[in-house]
């Protein structure tokens, strides 16, 4: 914009300089020619001739813009159409710019440009022009040029704004689509206008890239599913065979314990594959439209009732605080599973005779479910890592578990557009599920 304004200024400056400069030069040239002519007349016909020519010229054309003054050696006027020798300094190249009062026009002030000339007898001749019109024309040109600059810049600005707008709109369209895709709408594509401009081409390329990513992701998902499925099938057969072998053994046979251990190992493997597949499906699936209305308070009561017997074995007490009874759209079994996984962790890491708080509240229309224990907690640096599949903190490697429990909770939370947040219970861990847009129970 600045570059553009600069070049416009230079261009118009050049036009100004060439037109106005040309007009000034033209005036100067006319005056000089007149001086030359008058000087010739003077040398031919002497003083009287010159005076008569000047007087003649003034009388013949009284409104002329010409200025004449014939003056004696002490600058007292002898003939001419101005009343006195102007009180103005000569420039280096012999020109004078001055103002004079015109006796013919009620002593109005005029601007003039003139050149004095010394005649042979020590007399002076001043020949000039009234440059009112020249100045007026110059003003006109300057005004025209200023308007030209203003209009050009205004049009440029307006055009620029319109172009930027349409560009921003195209970029906005792409940004909007990207955000929606990142938010999980993987089938969303950037709109194309078919205009084949650069933005359209960008959109087409982005769409092609998204299609390719989608294809690869589907491929990976299928491979994962197939691997898990292919591994589960032989494992199932292995388990079935072990079971049949177990059934055929006599009571008291020394092999019984080994076989039972093998069956339970196979079960653990199957459970791990099952959990992996489950997480993958939850992550890929999202919440279906016909999700049920789930009463979170009921889930917490049921979970507490199911697990209090397990907690009792460690003399752990449950403190169930239901401050609200929010209803959320969701999958009842998966939400129950998430609560169970959190509760199971809380029991696992709680010290003997500790207390676990199950807290459900309504924070400005958002359901917040919190399970807090007084165990070792999760250090802030590990809080993201524990959500990764198979991640286990060093301290907990000796504990039973697959390292998938919290990954599943995170997947269920994401599916329900809830946030899984860990906080410090000083000491211990607070695991919070923060839901959005709940439906209040209608009383």
């Amino acid at each position: 914009m600045i570059l553009f304004a600069g070049s416009v200024l230079i261009l118009l400056g050049f036009i100004y300089w060439s037109t106005v400069g040309y007009m000034s030069k033209q005036t100067d040239a006319t005056i000089e020619a007149e001086i030359t002519g008058l000087a010739e007349q003077y040398s031919k016909g002497g003083l009287n001739n010159l005076v008569s020519i000047i007087t003649d010229r003034i009388e013949r054309d009284p409104d002329s813009s010409s200025v004449y003054l014939f003056a004696s050696a002490d600058y007292s006027p002898l003939a001419g159409n101005i009343s006195a020798w102007p009180d103005a300094k000569q420039t280096e190249d012999g020109w004078m710019n001055f103002e004079f009062a015109d006796a013919r026009a009620d002593n109005r002030i005029f601007q003039a440009r003139a050149r004095p000339f010394v005649l042979q007898d020590g007399l002076y001749l001043l020949v000039g022009r009234d440059i009112r019109e020249l100045r007026a024309t110059q003003q006109l040109i300057i005004r025209a040029l200023v308007w030209g600059i203003v209009l050009t810049l205004a049009f440029a600005l307006a055009g620029g704004i319109i172009m930027t707008r349409s560009m921003l709109k195209s970029i906005d369209r792409i940004n909007q689509a990207s955000r929606e895709i990142m938010a999980g709408d993987l089938q969303r594509r950037v709109e194309t206008k078919g205009s084949n401009d650069e933005f359209d081409q960008l959109a087409v390329n982005l769409n092609a890239m998204l299609d390719e990513i989608d294809r690869l992701m589907t491929g990976i998902r299928q491979v994962t599913d197939n691997v898990a499925h292919d591994l589960r099938t032989p494992l199932t057969r292995l388990r079935t065979r072990l079971e049949q072998f177990h059934a055929g053994l006599d009571e008291g046979s020394p092999d019984i314990e080994n076989i039972e251990q093998s069956i339970s190992d196979a079960d653990q493997l199957l459970a791990t594959f099952g959990a992996l597949l489950r997480i993958a499906r939850i992550e890929a699936g999202g919440l279906r439209e016909n999700a049920e209305k789930v009463d979170l308070a009921a889930l917490i009561r049921d979970a507490g009732e199911l697990y209090d017997v397990v907690a009792e074995e460690k003399q752990i007490g449950f403190d169930i605080q239901l401050e609200a009874s929010p209803i959320v759209d969701g999958d009842r079994d998966l939400l129950f599973q998430a609560i169970i996984n959190l509760l199971d962790n809380a029991i696992k890491y709680s010290p003997e005779a500790g207390c676990i708080t199950l807290h459900l509240a309504d924070h400005n229309g958002c359901a917040v479910l919190a399970i807090s224990d007084h165990g070792p907690g999760i250090p802030a640096v590990e809080q993201d890592k524990v959500l990764q599949r198979f991640y286990r903190m060093d301290k907990s490697r000796t504990m039973p578990g697959s390292g998938l429990g919290l990954s599943l909770v995170a997947a269920v939370a994401a599916m329900h557009e809830a946030e899984l947040v860990f906080a410090d219970n000083q000491p211990g861990l607070v695991a919070e599920l923060r839901f959005q847009c709940i439906h209040r129970r209608s009383e």
């Binding site: 499925h229 589960r232 099938t233 494992l235 199932t236 057969r237 388990r239 079935t240 079971e243 049949q244 177990h246 039972e260 069956i263 079960d267 199957l270 459970a271 099952g274 959990a275 597949l277 489950r278 499906r281 939850i282 699936g285 279906r288 049921d302 009732e305 199911l306 697990y307 017997v309 397990v310 074995e313 999958d331 009842r332 079994d333 998966l334 129950f336 599973q337 169970i340 996984n341 199971d344 029991i347 578990g401 429990g405």
Partner: protein
């Protein structure tokens, strides 16, 4: 006992056929949807086990077709589609139970027996369940053993009721979770075992013959010792 098994995986099919045969069932096997549908609609069975994903006609279509003819044979669906919506879809189509692959054979066997019992019992309105000297009054919701009242929590009552309704049959842990707690989930720990041991201490403590038995590798069973 005549059983129809519709399963396209030959290995799974042969294991099931063998296992069910040993368990005393007379098994007809169909390896694809079409022949399975023909058998299901023309022959008379005591129960059907139908794989959900089949070549030709899929499992749910077979279930719907069978139910459309007012045939009330108990149907169990086998599926690898383990999520809740799939299960709901299967049950809505008219199946009686839904089992996710992979499963233990003991789980399938226990569920088949439960289905048999359900269809036998569906008509008689019992007011009392009895196993040995253990009595459960379904009207007053009280339990007593050898004439002595047993104090039960509501959940313990439901647990005992489910076990007694399936007396003499193996009941698996997932069956208990599904029917007593009404959740389909993976319990992570041996939480059911703890509940059972609490119940056992109330039911069997101080009595010479224990009624509530653990079936290794399968589940639990309440049964009169003979």
């Amino acid at each position: 006992m005549r059983l129809l098994l519709i399963e396209d995986d030959p290995v799974v099919a042969s294991y099931l056929e063998q296992g069910l045969g040993e368990a005393g069932y007379n098994v007809d096997l169909a390896a694809d949807g079409k022949s399975g549908l023909v058998l299901a609609c023309t022959e008379d069975y005591d129960a059907m086990i139908i794989d959900r994903m089949l070549p030709g006609v899929d499992g749910l279509t077979i279930v719907k077709s069978v139910r459309a003819t007012e045939n009330k044979t108990p149907i169990l669906i086998l599926s690898t589609l383990g999520e809740v919506y799939d299960r709901v879809e299967g049950l809505k189509a008219g199946a009686d139970d839904y089992l996710i692959k992979p499963f233990a054979f003991s789980e399938l066997h226990a569920r088949l027996e439960a289905l048999q019992r359900r269809s036998d019992n569906s008509l008689n309105m019992e007011t009392e369940l009895r196993v040995g000297d253990l009595e459960l009054n379904l009207l007053s919701r009280t339990a007593s053993r050898a004439g002595k009242v047993i104090e039960l929590q509501p959940r313990e009552y439901r647990l005992l009721e489910y076990l007694m309704r399936h007396a003499g049959q193996v009941v698996t842990r997932t069956m208990l979770l599904e029917h007593v707690w009404d959740y389909h989930f993976d319990p992570q720990t041996n939480v059911i075992d703890v509940h059972i041991s609490h119940l056992r201490s109330k039911v069997d403590k101080g009595h010479a013959s224990p009624l509530l038995q653990t079936v290794r590798g399968a589940g639990y069973m309440i049964n009169e010792n003979r």
